[in-house]
């Protein structure tokens, strides 16, 4: 589940950053249209990758359940962190991305 979680959290953060209001809150300025599009694409790709990771780890039935659980959990963490510790929220996303290769190796 760890790999799926890391990818999910990173994906949600990317999607969040792709929204001008949140990009401004977290990084201090609004994103260009191009950057917003890239962030959106990256976000969706990461979420898709997390689904693949969850299913690869535990098969379709358990994998789907794990994925939804990880989806909801990471969304909650991000949204609750953002107003109180925005820097930490971003840091966790960066760390998640960094840790993905390790988690992927551990899973396979």
């Amino acid at each position: 589940m760890l790999l799926a979680l890391l990818l999910c959290y990173a994906g949600f953060t990317a999607l969040c950053l792709s929204m001008p209001r949140h990009h401004d809150e977290l990084l201090g300025h609004k994103p260009s249209a191009r950057r917003a599009r890239h962030l959106k694409l990256a976000g969706w790709l990461l979420l898709g990758a997390s689904l693949w990771a969850a299913v690869a780890a535990n098969g379709w039935s358990f994998g789907l359940v794990d994925w939804f659980a990880v989806l909801m959990g990471s969304a909650l963490v991000l949204v609750l962190l953002m107003p109180y510790r925005p820097k930490l929220a971003l840091l966790l996303a960066a760390l998640s991305l960094l840790a993905t290769p390790v988690a992927a190796w551990a899973q396979c």
Binding site: H22, V65, D66, F68, A69, M72, L76, L78, P83
Partner: protein, 529 residues
Amino acid sequence: MKEGFRQAMAWLHTWAGLLFGWLLFAIFLTGTLAYFKDEISHWMQPEIPAHAIDSAASLSLAQGYLQQHAADASRWVIDLPNARDPALSVRWQDAPAERGQRGRFTQKTLDAQTGAEIQPRDSRGGEFFYRFHFQLQMPYPWGRWLATIAAMVMFVALISGIITHKKIFKDFFTFRPRKGQRSWLDGHNAVGVLVLPFHLMITYSSLVIFMAMLMPASILASYGTDRDAFYQALFPETPIPERAGQASLLPALAPLLAKASEQWAGGHTARVSVINPGDANATVQLSRASSDRIAYEYGHDVTFNGVTGQLLGATPDKPLPMTVASGFYGLHLGHFAGPILRWLYFICGLAGTAMIGTGLVIWLGKRQLKHAKSGVMPFELRLVEVLNIASMAGLVLAVAVFFWSNRLLPLSLSGRAEWEVNGFFIAWGLSVLHALLRPGRKAWIEQLTVAAVLFIALPLLNALTTAHHLGVTLVQGDWALAGFDLTCFAAGLFLAWAAWKMQRAGLSVRVKKAPRTAPGPVTLEQRTH
């Protein structure tokens, strides 16, 4: 036209949410606790020791015990311990005194490692929360009817809420604390939208679980009065051979575990039933552990001849519609969840509970603002206020009292288990009284504080009354017991923080902004097109 539709859904969401919110809060909170019912039971009956699981050894011990104490019984039932439930439970049914009557059942708990009889304190344990959340302590079948009606209303409230939430995607990541009513609404939306897959699943699945009761029309139309035929099609049973009347010693049951596991491609046995033990036609039925798969199937068995070990039958795989329905059931129960997933289930349940709670607070808060100046609350709002306090702070307090009574009531007290439950309801009743007698804010603070103190002190009470306290359980690695103490402590801290916030909010001078032109009540019939 579209504006009218959204407005209508907002009206529906508001009123459905309010009228059933108090009941749904209780259902959600106790249901959420039920995800850890085995762990709660373990804490409430610490006399049952947890050992590393050895199913074959435990089964042999149980068989030995039953051979010694219940050789003449007509039926044995052995519930094997598992990672979450350490009890090795044996039951036996005496042959009925007369034909057509049911024999008397006796139940004993054994130590899973030594086979010795244990006398755990009489307690409903976590089962109380589990049963309450769908039976509501009401006589059969009224409780479950009320609970499922509440589930249908919850479904309506969820969907109408989604329709009403215009900026559901735009505000997906939005949570703005420290902004009064706005924050409460943000919070309500956050725990609602971010955890929506869970909320929809838990609500719809609860309807599917009881669908035979709720929607029998199809059964009647298809099977008429022959309901049994329907259930036989749903749960095909391997026929059990009649008593042969010939005595025959029952061989060891343990090897059958491996045979059953083979049938289930590596699955686990949760229960072993022996029908007519000691007879030549003794039948052994092994029931599969519900934690093996997502689909929750009642009666997934493999049946053997007890004496020869011959396979008599196995429950066949279910057709797709049944698997889907069982899938809903299994998702709701979450038996298959390992520790991490179980915690996520718990967190999602708490989110659902918070969604309902914040909704109730918002409903009142919005309308209270209009009466803040006059200082007098109209009767309807005061009623809502009292119900809010009692159904939320009062309920949490009652849960704490339930745990406290488990540690304080004398072990030898007859009807102990009932008295623990009585403690729960007495505390809840007192919280209603208290909420009636005290002004709203004070009642919240006082009840939250008492609940906080009770939860924070619970690990200490545990240490003073039993030998299974944190000093021991953390060292031994009994994570269920330690986790319970730690979670209660954390819950107490949360409640203390909530009480403190309420106190501060009451003390601070509130800058009275000029009220924005508040829209009139969203009424259904007053729409201009």
